[in-house]
Each structure stands twice: as C-alpha cells, then as structure tokens.
C-alpha cells in the first residue's frame, strides 16, 4: 500500500520479471544484445539514483526482488509475466524461480505463464498441463519471439486462435500481449496492433492487456480499445517517461484517459527494467501541467487509485482489496470513457 496526503492506494504491479540474463545463460550474441538493449532502456529513463550496474541487472536475487517490490515498491500484489526467449537463453529468459516464489507467497504474487502457438498440438497439450500445474489465470505472449526460422507471429493466426480457444476453455481469462518489434512477415509494420482487434472481437470472454499501450502505435491501440471493451492498456514502458519527459507523459496519459477511460489502464513497472518505487511516487504526485489542462482534464485521485491497483484487481478477482482501500464513493459511470464517434 502507498499512502500520501491522507490517501491510501492499493497497489498491484501488473507486470514484472524475474529474469536470468547472465553470461552463462546467454545462448548466443542475441542474448547479450537483448539484455544490453533492456539495460539501455533502464538507464535511459531511470532517475540516476535508481540505475543498477549491468552485472546486477543481468541477474538479481529473490531477496532483492522482494525488497524492491514489496518493501520499497509499495506493492500489495504483483504479477509475473514471464518471457521464454528460448532462442536467446539456454534456460529461457525468465527464471522458474518465479513460480516457486508465487507458491510461497500466494497472497502477494501471481504467476502467469506463456505459450507459443508455433508449438502446434504439442504446445496445446502443454498449455493444458501448465494451466493445471500453475492454476493459470493469465498468460503473457511475446509475439515477436524468435522460433527457429520464424521471427514472430500474430495473434490472429489460425494456430493462435486454437490456443485462445483453449484459454477460454481452461478459464485463463487474461491475455497479456507484448507488442514488440520484429514480426513475421518482416515487411509488415513491426508494431502493428491490429491482430488484437480480431481476437478481442472473436473472444469476448477474454481480456486482452496490450502491454506498453501499443507504443509507438498509441493511436492504433486507442482506436481498437475504444471499439473493444475487453482491451486494456498496460503502462509498462510508457510510465517511466514521467521522470524524463513529464509533459510528454501528460499527453500519453491524457490521450489514454480520453480515448479508453480510467477503468482499463493498468500500472506495471516492468521490473527490473524500472523500479516501482519511483514510478508510484511520481505518479501519485503527478498532475497534468496547468497550461495543458485546456486539452486534458486534471487526473483525479480516484483515477490514480484505479490505475495503480483497483483495475488489475478487477481482472484478477483472487486479489482481495481490503474494504478501506476501495474507492470511497462508488465510481461514477466512467464519464471519460467515450466512444470516438459523436464524442466531441
């Protein structure tokens, strides 16, 4: 829980990692390039005092994680969204330790798993086993992942649909999708989010959480999310701009609130990319700059509470929000969530 100025905030960090990018685990040059790229994200957008060394960043301990997320990072609950990246790392990028940690801390940690539709029938059976083993409520999909000759897939592919049907059948409600670079075929827009449009329509019982709010295709994401009520935006990678470019962040959050509304935006630190402590502190202190308030309405405390935790708790009902941390008055029918047509 975070508290400031007499307000208490229930915090769900809906996107974090327990990774191993150590030299021993790197399978090839791409494993090294990948973590260096992540490290540049980390040091480019973090306040100086939160920057780690590359060595610390490659592989951190459970103890460090628990301290950063729960002691310093205010989280009441946190959700692992692992990435396999088996073509880059010997034992995969995300450590199996995350699942052990979730078992030992069921009230504080939720473990999502991943699947890859390019594994065909074998992968479908694996998904059934994983769903039972991990009591899965969500999955994390990395559509840009390499797999043999393939440089990625789309969620609208026929095999992806078979996996989504399986998710529906198994009660895996939350599909977190990382929209990242490099998608096959390479000649398409690498960050295209249009595949989400198809599956959100065809799988109305599933929730699609587009991580990084589709950046750098914010407009496409907003457009789709406005039409599809089961599409959500995860703020990982977007929210760190709050430190280096607060005016730009004001535009992102202002656009999101006006296009998709306050009920479908989820906080995520993407730890260890960024430390949640400073993200949460700065977000609670944040307001749309005065000279921009003609364009964007000021952000309310209730909106911040929803974004920082209550929205994610709504998607994962096993996360129990104490009565005193619920919104004080019932949320109004979200007035800022307006369709694109006739909203002006």
């Amino acid at each position: 829980m975070y508290w400031k100025d007499g307000e208490n905030y229930f915090i769900v960090d809906a996107h974090l990692h327990m990774w191993d990018a150590s030299d021993e685990n790197q399978k090839n040059i791409h494993g090294a390039q990948f973590i260096e790229c992540f490290y540049d994200y980390h040091r480019n957008l973090s306040p100086e005092e939160y920057v780690w060394t590359l060595e610390d960043y490659k592989n951190y301990s459970e103890e460090q994680f628990m301290t950063d997320i729960f002691d310093n990072g205010y989280a009441d609950h946190a959700i692992f969204n692992p990435a396999a990246l088996n073509d880059f790392y010997v034992n995969g990028f995300s450590r199996p330790l995350a699942w052990d940690m979730a078992q030992r801390n069921p009230d504080r940690l939720t473990y999502n798993h991943n699947f890859d539709p390019r594994n065909g029938e074998v992968g479908l059976r694996q998904l059934e086993e994983d769903a039972a083993k991990y009591t899965l409520k969500g999955v994390k999909l990395y559509t840009a992942e390499w797999h043999g000759d393939s440089r990625g897939y789309r969620l609208s592919d026929p095999w992806a649909y078979k996996y989504l049907e399986k998710c529906q059948e198994l009660g895996i409600k939350n599909v977190h999708v990382h929209k990242g670079p490099t998608i096959k075929p390479l000649d398409r827009d690498a960050f295209d989010v249009s595949d989400i449009d198809h599956c959100a329509t065809d799988f109305p019982d599933l929730n699609f959480i587009v991580e990084h709010v589709g950046l750098p295709r914010l407009e496409d994401f907003c457009w789709i999310a406005t039409q599809e009520s089961n599409v959500y935006g995860g703020l990982a990678v977007a929210i760190p701009f709050i430190h280096t470019r607060p005016r730009y962040w004001a535009q992102i959050i202002g656009e999101l609130l006006s296009w998709i509304g306050e009920d479908r935006i989820l906080f995520g630190s993407d730890y260890a990319l960024w430390q949640p402590k400073w993200l949460i502190e700065k977000f609670v202190d944040f307001q749309i700059p005065e000279d921009m308030q003609g364009e964007y309405k000021p952000i309310t405390t209730n909106q911040k509470k929803k974004i920082l935790g209550l929205n994610a708790a709504g998607l994962y009902p096993h996360i129990k929000v104490p009565e005193e941390l619920q919104l004080r008055e019932p949320a109004m029918a979200s007035s800022s969530s307006q369709g694109p047509i006739g909203s002006e």
Binding site: K184, P185, L186
Partner: protein, 262 residues
C-alpha cells in the same frame, strides 16, 4: 599553377563533395520518426576518397526493426549513388543484430525479399507508404494547431485552410515534403486537410480526424524522444550529432493550445 593554389582547389573540391554527401544523407528519413537520419545522429562516419563514398550508420538498439533498418540503409545507398561524381558507395550498418545480412543485401542489390527470402513476403513499399501516411496525418495536426494558436483560425474553419495560408518555412515546406512523398501535388490553392489520396475531409469528419491525428503525432514524437535518448545512452558522443527535433507543435510558444479538446 602553384602547388599552394592546387592544394586550395583540392581542398575546396573535397569540401564541396563532403557537403554534397551530407546533403544527400539529409534526404534519408527514418520512416517511423519522420526525421532525417542526419538530424537523429544515425550517421556516424562519412568519408570521400576520390569517387568512393563510405558511410557508417548506427541505430538506438541492436533490435531496431530490420525492415526500417533496411529502408534507411538502402535509401542512403540510393541517395549517395545519385550524386553524379560518385561511382562506388559503401553503406555499413553497425551494431545491429542483423547488420551483416542487411549490409550484404543492400550492397548486392538483393532487395528486401532477396535479403530475407524466408521471412519477408514482399518488398517494403507498402510499409513505407503506411508511415508516410502517418507522417502526413501528424503534420496536418501540427500545422492546424499552429494556425489556431498563432493565426487565430477557428477549428471549424480549418477545412478551408489552403497551402497558401501557411507561413513560409517549416510549416509550408514540411507539409509539401510529406505531400510529395504521398504523390500529392501542393498548389497554393490546395486544401491542407486532405487524406492520403488528396480527398478533402468533410466538416463533420474534422474533429474526429484531428483528434486521431493528434494521437498519431504524439506516438511519433514519443517514439522520437525514446529513440534519441536510447541512441545517446548507447553512444554518449551521439548527443553532439543530434539536431533539435524542434517544438512538438511547430510554433514558437511553449504552451500546447487547446485545439482539440477532449
């Protein structure tokens, strides 16, 4: 001719050639960021030896999309080959996960599908066009914001805004460049608010179109901030090579006007 005069002539000639190389590279645009690669700090080395030009390019991460990387390398190759005295061009992309493949593909004129026979289903022209459309859309929003703020245009009148109404310099030239990329002519009487085929936006469409255009502009700007920052993180010396992106909404004021209220 004295040796001293000859040296001066040689120096003048090579400075002139270097300037031509820089100008040619200045026409190469990062399709996603809608900015010349020279302003972004992507050009790290340019050399002229006789009729040979060699250039090195660097990008913000090793995982920048191969399609955009390929477009920039191959556009740089084409721009340099277009200089009349040049007969040998080498463009080398460095520190990229697919650098060898892209460099080989461009040098051997394999085309994108020849470079990526397994992964690519076609050449990159439709991808390029998609980003030219975005760049044009975002620029319309910039220009309209400027006109409302600094020339007191009313939003509901923007449909009648013509190219001749725009201030000379960056607003007018910038719009012309983006229209030319789309194959649209830019006569003084042509309307500003048109789609990628030159069809005018109807008055009813304007508020929503502008609102969407603004989101497009914010996406491009945000990506540009991120990529520029990442390049400086990766190569600290890049800061001196990067030219200011300029204010996000073209004008001179610091505030963002309330053109498109939500």
């Amino acid at each position: 001719m004295s040796a001293a005069v000859r040296d001066l002539r040689v120096t003048a000639l090579s400075e002139d050639r270097a300037a031509q190389v820089a100008a040619a590279l200045g026409t190469v645009i990062d399709p996603e960021l809608d900015e010349p690669i020279t302003d972004l700090g992507f050009v790290t080395d340019q050399r002229v030896e006789g009729r040979r030009v060699s250039v090195r390019l660097r990008l913000p991460t090793a995982f920048c999309s191969p399609s955009f990387a390929y477009l920039m390398v191959s556009d740089a190759h084409d721009a340099l080959s277009g200089i009349d005295w040049v007969d040998d061009v080498r463009v080398t992309l460095q520190d990229h996960h697919d650098a060898d493949r892209i460099n080989r593909g461009v040098a051997s004129a394999l085309g994108f599908t020849g470079t990526y026979p397994e992964e690519a289903a076609g050449e990159l022209e439709s991808l390029r066009r998609r980003f030219q459309v975005k760049a044009h859309t975002a620029f319309i929003e910039r220009v309209c914001t400027l006109m409302v703020r600094e020339s007191n245009w009313a939003v509901e009148d923007l449909g009648s805004l013509r190219i001749s109404d725009l201030p000379a310099g960056r607003p007018a030239d910038g719009l012309r460049r983006r229209r030319t990329d789309l194959g649209l002519r830019s006569g003084p009487d042509d309307h500003v608010m048109v789609d990628e085929f030159g069809a005018a936006w109807t008055p009813e469409m304007i508020p929503l179109k502008l609102r969407f255009a603004k989101a497009v502009r914010i996406s491009i700007d945000g990506n540009a901030h991120f990529c520029r920052g990442l390049l400086r993180t990766r190569y600290p010396d890049a800061a001196t090579d990067q030219r200011d992106r300029g204010p996000e909404s073209l004008g001179t004021g610091s505030g963002v006007p309330a053109v498109i209220r939500h």
